[in-house]
Each structure stands twice: as structure tokens, then as C-alpha cells.
Subunit: 356 residues, 2 copies
Amino acid sequence: MKTTALIMAGGRGERFWPRSRKNMPKQFLSLTDDERTMIRLTVDRILHLVDMEDIYIATNKDYKDLVKEQLPGIPDENILCEPIGRNTAPCIGLGLMHISRKYDDAVMMVLPSDSLIKDGERYRELIREACDIAEAGDNLVTMGIRPNYPETGYGYIKYIEGEKRGSAYRVDKFVEKPSLDKAREYLASGDYLWNAGMFVWKVSTVIKEYKAFLPDMLKGLNVIKDAIGTGDEDKVLGEVFPTLESISIDYGIMEKAGSIYTIPGDFGWDDVGSWLAVERIKSVNEDNNVVSGNAITIDTKDCIIEAQDKLIAAVGLKDIVVVDTADATLICDKGATADIKKVLEVLRAGDNTRYL
Amino acid sequence: MKTTALIMAGGRGERFWPRSRKNMPKQFLSLTDDERTMIRLTVDRILHLVDMEDIYIATNKDYKDLVKEQLPGIPDENILCEPIGRNTAPCIGLGLMHISRKYDDAVMMVLPSDSLIKDGERYRELIREACDIAEAGDNLVTMGIRPNYPETGYGYIKYIEGEKRGSAYRVDKFVEKPSLDKAREYLASGDYLWNAGMFVWKVSTVIKEYKAFLPDMLKGLNVIKDAIGTGDEDKVLGEVFPTLESISIDYGIMEKAGSIYTIPGDFGWDDVGSWLAVERIKSVNEDNNVVSGNAITIDTKDCIIEAQDKLIAAVGLKDIVVVDTADATLICDKGATADIKKVLEVLRAGDNTRYL
């Protein structure tokens, strides 16, 4: 059976402001020591498993040119532009329609475009196993990540220790982003994994799930499917897609579906979720700083300094993130990176869109 | 008797890097809410007491054009360019020669170009009194500043409580920059003032002091004096000035001289000695930040942010100084401003002179 992939690349990456901008979000930036961009790394990572013409990119029209530029091998018709952001269930559904139109059935992997995988070899090994499990029956397979701290920003997957199939465990349930107390409980219990938003399933399997749990959405998606490749494609997509319910695949399907397996993904996953991730993925110097660009540090420790051509002089700093760009400089305490979005709120409120 | 002034404007203002630069040091910048530069404020402050043609500026040739530009009323021949920095005794001596050549005798005030006076009216009142005391006899008069914390970066003046003359006290002794313990002692004793480098005396009086305590220097200064106004002036200055002993007026004369008076200067003096001074002299907002330019602050307190056109976004910061300029940005903990000079050392060591 053919293996296909849908890469989700419509995010805005606001937590990486000011480098990530509305017109150049995180997935199109190089954030690691590798000069390739996040989305390019995502594609390159699966090329042994999927043919280029079977890779679909879900994004929006603002980023279509960036996708074409950074992924020249992807066929134009595989770049799927959502007319409006409607959460993951409609987005995955759109990819599903394109793939089901092309193949009677196929294995489909759904991947974020902006996470980092340190061990690509192990990743491919486990993704291949996930494909096998998906192909063998009507199984939804998800790659879980073993938590090492009580993160409250991810959903969790509870698996059943006793029901193992190769590297995979049968899933007991999907749970939404927990409180800190709950997250600590999950971490302590040992049978919860982080939901990293990586799924593998057969097209035929997941269509059955849409039919069972999101029947109205599937009807809309089928209308869109019928217009694909016709002169009406854009018009129908623009009319129907915004009417689809804005719901996540986790909430819409995964929390309800029956046969779900999860594979603990021990391949060095990182969602590069904020500037703090930089010190996990880039080289740290003897003062425990991550420094790039034209910077001088004096008595400065545990800082992240992303300078460019302009000289950044850091004196006596500790636990500070400095990110310089051509028109804006962020200086943020490490404990306050979640508040970067408040800067964007102030900018929006002031109609100061040039910095967004 | 004529009143004259020598304004010392040869400093580099390194503690105000990156705004203060080798080719545009602190005294030529506006650092207060007033748009006038520090040296302009210094001149304007004494114009009721001294005629423009009797104001001399001691600087060096790098800053001659800046002086002419910022102080267009000062005669060209009153801009005295030291060929090399030789501390304050030779510098004041050079001014002394120019004034003594013009007037048989005169009252001379010596003033820094980069300190701030909040109450100009009170300042003029006390300076006028200092002039009277200087004119009345062979008295050296210095404006002292009542200490309000044990600063170790200034010299101190011990006065004799019982020997008062108007607002002035007779000086017991000048003491050099103390240790912290000593500074605490001075502060507690109540009869020590900070030496703010502001002096008033008759030309004839101070020449006697040079003769007594710096006789070789006076000889050299007289050679320079004889060449003033001749075609050889620059040549002689360039040859003789560098041979003069590099010694401060405090150490060379004030610590040794006899009849010294000091007036406690209660006119809101500030030496604007580092970026920390900015919060004493500029408006502080409700978060106790001093913010100027294009800046957004989120959960940021007790910070100094000097932005320009480029957006500076400060998130979760406390006690941090941020100074942005066209080619360099300083980010410095308030407790580490003394280490700004280490940045300049690194730049010099790397031959990176464009940022100095």
C-alpha cells in the first residue's frame, strides 16, 4: 500500500517572535545548528518512506510561495491552502480528501512541520512500524513522547501497559492539556505519553472515524473533494471549508475512537515550542550561554543571545533571552517567554502590524 | 574683577557607551529630559555670571568641531585643545595661562562639562558667593556636595564645622577616593562632602599654588603661555604639554594648599556618572521604568530602556538597562554598569574600533 504524508504548516509561531513573523513563521526558519528550515527538515526526514509526489502540505495562501520556494520538489497541487484556519480536524480532512481522490486506499501520516527530531534513523524505524500497524487493520496510530517533566501545554495519551504490539501500546484514552497537578500525576504514573500531534492511519480507517464522529464535516469534505481538479475547486473550498466545525482531531476523533495504538517515540523529539528550546537544540558555551551573531558577553550566564550584524553587548545578565532582528529586538526573562504573545497583543491593539 | 570660566570637556564618557562614543562623548549628548546637551546646559547655567568671551573650553582636537557646533558663541581661541590627556592639573594650568594672558587678574571657575544641576538659581547664588570669597583673598574655593550614600568613586572634602564664612566652611583636608568602610565613616561623621570637581579662585592665587607645589609644571606652562597667539602656538603646545606631569589638581594642589573653603552645594547636583543616573534625572513611569523611544514593556519593572526607532520589546525584566543605538545595543544588569568598560576592552582587544 502507498505511504503518503500530510505536513501541517499553517501555524504562526508567535512564541518565536520577533524572528517568527506573520509573513515568515517558525516552520520556514532555521532554528537549529542545521541551516535547513524546520519544514525542509521535516520533509527530508521522511523521504526514505514517502515519495515526494505523495507529500501534501497543509498551509494557507500567505505561505504558498514560501512552501514552493523551500520545497521545490512538492507538486503544486499538493500544497493545500486552507481559506481560513479551522483547527486540525478540517485541515486533516482536507488532506484526506486529496489523498483518497488519488489512491483507493493508502497509509497516511500526519506530521507537524515545526518539531525537531534528533535521531532521524530511529524516527524512520518507528514511523515504519506505525505504518505497518496502521496497514494491518483499522488502527489509528500515534507517536507519543515519554514526558520528563509535568508539561501543561500538551495533551497526554494514556496507554495500557499490558496490551503491547511490537513497540506500540494500545491506548486507553486521550486526555486534554492538564492542570499542573494532573500533569504531575501523569508523569508519576509512568503510563502517560505526550501527544505530539503525529498520527499514522489508513485513509479508509480514518474516513470511517469521520463518518462516525464528525459526519457533517465529512459531508462538507466530500463536497470539496468532488470539486478538486475542476475549475470550481477554489470557489467550493472557499465556500464550504469555513462552514466546517472548528475542532481538533484529538477532541473530534482521538478521544472517542476505538482502536488506537501509541508508540513511545524515543527519537529525541522537541517541539521547539519557545525560545527556551534553543538551549536544548543548539550548542551551549562554557558560561552556559547560547550565543550567535555579533555579540559580546561580560559576566553573563544561562542566556540565549541571537544577535545578527548589529553588536549586542550583554553585561551581568542571567537567564535572559535576547533576539535581535532588523526592526525589532526582544529582551525577555526566561521565566516570561509565555508573555511574548502579550507583545503581539499590544502591537495588534495599536495597529502596529509591521512588527507582527 | 572679571569672572571667567574653564569648562573641562575632554572626557570620553565610557560609562555611557553605547550612546557615548569616542567621537561623540557624553558631554555632547542630551541625557536629560532637556534637549540641550550637557555642555550646552553647563554654559547656559553660568551665562548670568560670565561673559561668553570669558568662557574657555578645555578639550582635545577630536572634539573641537563639536564644541564649535554646540557652543557657537564661544570664541575660537577659547577652545583649548590638549594635544594629549594629562589629567586635571596641566589642563587647568593651560586654561590659567590663557586667562592670565588676557587679564592681569580674574576670578576663574573650573567646571566639569557633564554634571547636572537641578536648581540653577541656587547654583548661581552659591557660585557668586564662591567668587566673592575667592576675590576677597588668596582662597581656593570648592563646591562640595553633601553625600547621601557611601560612594567610593569620588574624593571627599573634610571641612571644619566651626570655621564658617557665609555659606562656606574652611577645609580641613582633601581625601582621595575611599574604601567602602572609609566612605561609610565619612558619611556618618557628617563633616565630609563629595569633591565634585568644581573650583573657584583668583588666577593670581592659583598661580602661587602652582609655583609652590608644581613649580616645574608652571615653568612649562609659562613656555606655552609665551607662544599663545604666535605662529608657534600649536608647535610649542604639542612639544611642551606632553612633558607636563600627569597629576590631578586634587593631588597636586588641593591636598597641599593652605587656605581652602568649601561651600556645600545644595543645588541638586548629579554627576550623571552611569546609566543608573538616568532614573534620577528622567521621568519614571508607574512601573518604575524610564522608557524612551519605540519600546513595549510587559511585566517589566525598575528598568531603563532607551530605545530609538527600532522596536525594543522588554518582557519580564527587572533591574535591566537597555540602550539601543544604530549599530550597537547594550543590555546590562543595573548591578553591573561598572563592567560596561569591559565591553570596550574586548572591542579594543579585537581591534573592533568602529563601536568605540
